[in-house]
């Protein structure tokens, strides 16, 4: 055909495509064909999603209303309604003193442990940002430093836990040796002391995470900031602190927001390897996080109903935190733009 080919418009393109489709369609309506095609693509993933994600979530909700140990046949499961939740979250009046006491004070202690361990999140983010700022400079050999900082993240968590278990050994471990060299007479028994076990875990988490994913994301965010802004600020006489707070920090807000969300979500669900291998729940339960408590309740004590209720509570906490973050973090990120 002698017609000149111009860029066809959207409608012309769609008309051509649907005409071709109907020519190739043959019997059967295109709708059914499309539906069956989509089914074929979707089915493997959808089946797995249903069986291993959707149905288990619903099942967990149902399980949380039941008392069952999953060893005896399911007919022996007892429906207890919200009794599990009351057991965990509720309060009652102590008959002796008349004061309000929690039904399960271990739960609140483990919740405190979990929140305490999350203190490492903002510290880690700040350190990651500082590292990213340093790595962003045009230095010779910056790639070597970037690699070195990233290596702990790549190391398998189990091996890292074994290594740090040795580092925290009170008699011949590395950390106490360094502390003694620095002049500290009686360095603490890190993993054996309820007061020091959690900071020990936080320190290990920082060692693994500072140069890792967060740092790389911050680096990418920093490289997206145009250099002209900094030049203009320098010409106007802005100090490095002013440049940091007025240019860098606001323009990194989306990255910070994303990192904060993912760090909080993974922080509430993380630390299992460290806790299990290094302290197994800690001296006197001082490193038992909510996650570890759920693991113990379900797979050591075989109380499936109670464990499901705890898991639902954890889910609710993570959900609330994410929604708060989403609402306020998004606004903060968008105001800048």
């Amino acid at each position: 055909m002698a017609t000149k080919h111009r860029n066809p418009s959207q409608e012309q393109r769609q008309a051509a495509v649907s005409e071709c489709r109907s020519r190739c369609a043959g019997r059967g309506s295109t709708f059914v064909r499309q539906f069956l095609g989509a089914c074929g693509f979707l089915l493997p993933n959808l089946l797995g999603f249903l069986v291993f994600t959707l149905v288990p979530v619903v099942a967990a909700m149902l399980l949380s209303f039941v008392r069952w140990d999953a060893i005896s046949p399911w007919q022996e499961a007892r429906w207890v309604g919200i009794h599990n939740y009351v057991d965990i979250l509720g309060f009652h009046r102590d008959p002796a003193t008349g004061a309000l006491t929690p039904n399960d004070d271990r739960f609140w202690y483990y919740l405190y442990n979990t929140v305490f361990l999350m203190l490492g999140v903002p510290v880690g983010m700040a350190l990651s940002l500082v590292t990213a700022l340093l790595l962003n400079r045009p230095l010779r050999g910056v790639v070597i430093f970037r690699t070195i900082f990233f290596i702990p993240t790549v190391c398998s968590a189990v091996a890292v836990a074994v290594l740090w278990r040795w580092i925290y050994q009170p008699d011949y471990g590395l950390l106490n040796e360094l502390l003694r060299l620095a002049g500290i007479e009686n360095p603490p028994n890190w993993l054996g002391d309820p007061a020091w076990a959690k900071p020990a875990l936080i320190l290990m988490g920082l060692w693994v995470g500072v140069g890792g994913y967060n740092c790389v994301l911050y680096l990418a965010g920093l490289q997206n900031i145009p250099e002209e802004l900094y030049e203009a600020a320098r010409l106007d006489g802005a100090s490095w602190w002013a440049r940091l707070t007025r240019i860098t920090w606001p323009l990194l807000a989306p990255t910070t927001f994303f990192i904060l969300i993912t760090s909080i979500i993974s922080g509430f669900q993380g630390f299992f390897v460290g806790v299990h291998i290094m302290t197994a729940g800690g001296p006197a339960g001082s490193t038992t996080t909510l996650l570890y408590h759920i693991y113990q309740t379900a797979f050591v004590y075989h109380e499936m109903g109670r464990a499901s209720a705890l898991a639902m509570i954890l889910f609710a906490i993570v959900l609330v935190l994410t929604l708060i973050n989403w609402r306020y973090g998004r606004e903060a990120a968008q105001i800048i733009y």
């Binding site: 495509v17 071709c20 340093l134 190391c155």
Partner: protein
């Protein structure tokens, strides 16, 4: 006119020099901090490798030393017995002596160095009184000793009783392979599980992502919202019912228990859908005009263009599955089916205070991954950025 121009140029020169100086100082400070940070990252790993080569006596020595050393010894030609060597101060000179025997708070030693004093036998008190208090007169003489045998002993430490990969499907029975060393089986198990999960996730996620991105069917958006919603659900919530389901299906303590629950990921679908949406519609329309159906478009157009996203997702899934610990801990019991992480944990349970073995095993577990990372790190970092920006 000349002087005015000179003045302006001078001012420009001064400003340029001032800016450069602060930049240099900033760079020096950055180097110092980065070196300190880099040392913090590497020193524990260096100690891990050093401890893995230590003799058992040196691994738990107090105070701890970095270099693997053991005490030297000397064979007495007269009696044929080996004696430990020490450093000692004799007549103001540093001498290396062999401790022959101990007599009432003193040691009978034989001098070996310096050669002028060699061969003499002296009695040296074990403890000396100085201004600082009691000081031992004999200090152990040590030499560098790298105990490579730690690695082979750790490798052979866990021996399997049952054959590896023995299974029965209906009438077909596979007797399995007799693997003696546990760690070999652990590596193979991890490889099998990780490769299967990675390929499975890539396949199912890309198919579903294409369906969500390009195909039209009723309930598409609602279903995708359901996918998104479950990403936020913590893993523990689904772990308990999935465990009960697998127990009901009698799949506990099989490879399927490790593979199946990890093979279907909503996160991968979400990521790939984002990527597929960015593929220009024109390419797909051109393929359709050439007569491709949905499968053709998927295979010919989308897949080749998505190599970076698929590589990034594949890397993530590979690493994540390789490092899986909690789920295999829950579902696996048999030693011969354990993945590497669980194998290291069970090794740690058996040899909990023998740090040289533990460090050697940790190096064996960590080493390959770190090596692969060092080789392919450029692609790795690209993948992190890709998924972070799109996610």
């Amino acid at each position: 006119m000349i002087s005015r121009r000179g003045g302006r140029d001078q001012r420009k020169c001064v400003r340029r020099v001032v800016v450069k100086r602060s930049l240099i100082w900033g760079n020096i400070a950055a180097y110092v901090v980065l070196t300190g940070g880099g040392a913090t990252m590497l020193v524990p790993l260096a100690w891990m490798v050093a401890t893995s080569l230590k003799d058992p006596s040196a691994a738990t020595s107090f105070p701890p030393e970095f270099l693997p050393r053991i005490q030297e010894s000397w064979r007495d030609p007269a009696t044929g017995q080996t004696r430990p060597l020490y450093w000692c101060e004799i007549e103001g000179r540093r001498a290396k002596v062999a401790k022959l025997r101990i007599v009432k708070g003193a040691a009978v030693v034989r001098v070996l160095e310096p050669p002028e004093m060699a061969g003499r036998e002296l009695t040296v008190p074990l403890v000396r009184n100085t201004l600082k208090g009691h000081v031992e007169t004999l200090r152990p003489a040590k030499r560098l000793y790298l105990r490579w045998a730690n690695y082979s002993e750790a490798w052979h430490a866990i021996q399997l009783e049952r054959p590896w990969m023995a299974f029965r499907i209906g009438p077909i029975e596979c007797p399995g392979i007799r693997i003696r060393d546990g760690f070999l089986a652990f590596y193979l198990n991890s490889l099998i599980v990780t490769i299967t999960v990675t390929l499975g996730q890539l396949l199912t996620s890309s198919l579903a992502a294409y369906a969500f991105a390009r195909l039209r069917f009723p309930g598409r958006d609602g279903l995708f919202l359901g996918y998104l919603a479950t990403i936020m659900v913590p893993h523990v919530v689904t772990m308990i019912p999935v465990f009960i389901l697998l127990r009901w299906l009698r799949m506990i303590d099989t490879y399927w228990a490790m593979i199946l629950p990890l093979m279907f990921s909503a996160y991968g679908t979400f990521l790939l859908r984002q990527f597929f949406l960015s593929v220009p519609q024109d390419l797909e329309d051109a393929a359709r005009l050439d007569g491709c159906g949905a499968w053709g478009v998927y295979r010919q157009v989308i897949l080749p263009l998505s190599r970076p996203a698929l590589a990034a997702l594949g890397t993530f899934v590979f690493l994540g599955t390789w490092n899986q610990f909690m789920w295999p801990l829950i579902v696996m019991n048999s030693t011969e089916k354990m993945p590497l992480m669980l194998g290291l944990y069970s090794f740690m349970g058996q040899y909990s205070a023998e740090w040289h073995y533990l460090m050697a095993a940790s190096v064996m577990v960590m080493g390959p991954v770190v090596l692969v990372f060092l080789i392919g790190q450029r692609y790795f970092v690209q993948g992190v950025v890709l998924s972070g920006m799109k996610g």
